[in-house]
Amino acid sequence: METMSPLERVLRGLALTLVVVFFMFPIFWIFLMSFQTNETILAIPPSIVFSPTLSNYAALITGKLQTAAGTLDIAFMRNLGNSIFLSVASVAVALVLGVPAAYAFARHKFKGSEDIAFTLLSFRFAPPLLVLLPLTQYFQWLGLSNTYFGLIWVYQLICLPLILWIVRGYFEDISADVEYAYRIAGHSWFATFRKIALPLAGPGIAAAGLLAFIFAWNNFVFALVLASADKQPVTVGALAFVTSSGIQYGQIAAAIVLSVTPTLALALYAQRYLVEGLSLGAVKG
């Protein structure tokens, strides 16, 4: 690789530029659109020179949409609140359930442990609708349809396997000798888990939690099937918003920008752990 001709250098630069443009342009363009009124959006040819307006964001935040037919209420902020609540609560539950289980799988090779771990992993790859469609009826019988409780439970399908497999890898990386030494000093199992294992696996647990949050936030189909308007997160809400707001393109763009900002920010923050998380611990970054 050391010997690179000037021509090759130029070609590589060109190829990389094209790649960056293809992957970055849509984000850039929607971001610009969110500061535009319909007049400038509809102008032909499109221009990146315009006087930016915050009116789209103002309309979303106040929940009042001015249209030719009158004022329309939009529930977008409610969707945003639902997304935050559902994702945070799902990850918290998944951590409480998943971290002890991950520790058990990492430290104790007990009977059936691999089978159980793989059953949990296989949830990651089963078609979600296969479970969701019958679940709509069970939820009706149980009175769980359109409740946060029901949604958070189903969100465990995404969060739990992720937490379990990533955190398990982190526990396996900690030498068991440290824990034995602490146990021999007369400490209980629980004290060892809390004082030794948890702090050492801390960064991994945090990373797994952030990733689970991103996946929960980005989920679409669970809430599409199981939640009605007042419980829907942004992914489903934004789609409904497109239909209801009709031609308020600037506001749609602003809604998309608000919806993707949290995950993009978290991804940048946790990017060191993304490779490992996305491959469920198979590839180290």
């Binding site: 799988f105 296989s122 949830f123 980005n218 679409f220 489903v236 991804a267 940048l268």
Partner: protein, 307 residues
Amino acid sequence: MASTETLRRPASGFRISRKMLPYVLSLPALLVCIGILIPFFTAVIYSFQRYRLSQPWSRQFNWGENYLNFFTDPAFWNTLKVSLLYAGITVTLELLLGLGIALLLQRRSTINNFISIMLLLPLMIAPALAALMWKLMTNPSFGILSYLASLIGLHDFRWASSPDTALLTVVLVDIWVYTPFIMILLLAGLRSLPTQPFEAAALDGVPRSFVFFRITLPMLTPYILTATLFRLLDSIQQFDIIYAMTQGGPGNTLTVFQVEAYLNFFQSTNVGRSAALLIILWAITYTLSNVFIKNWLRLRERARGEA
């Protein structure tokens, strides 16, 4: 320190025996998941019933009829064809693109690291929202891509709303979202390869195409396999992008398995057919995931070993 610790602790009320401990620890996670296994078996039962939500009185077991009907059902063959086509095209293109980009970014440098982080962003956007972004960009009256298409002579290019180009459009969105996934795994793989074979080849003046096909590619194969199978498993079940973009339309151009099952359930309320479709999809993904898990385990062992 240690003694105060033990003194402060009240005499333990109950003790969990060493043998039971792992079961106790993993039990809560299991219980949550059992709640999810029950609907799975329910779906199997549905798939062997004539069951329409609009005619609950006619609900009865018809055993394999839902499955047998598929043989003579052109809509089913269309679903199978579109699903395989979608998965095949997206995964092939994403693999080629992802490998190409990973090779371009292989050398560690500030700019390369910066670019590889930037390229992750599409992957972190919800696929349903990514589809909305592209919907805005391909809008016939103001979409920037429609405008660009008109500049190269493609006037009135309809993107996702024409049956001729709908597949192409959703494939484009899928590539935009998921190529970074393959890229990031292969880049990590490339950077973890041992350096000696490459140094030896450079010393011997081996041509670079030979190095690529005989050294790089074989050593990268486990990573390529894992990334491909991972994507294949997701892609054959794609729902978010297609549903948010076209809801399976126009007509039945994009009625892949999960979209068709969703429409069957909620629009034509044919629960039996919907469940049978999903069971067939599950059989496909189950087979794939067994191959996948074997390969993934091998890679994981290696990652842990090198840690």
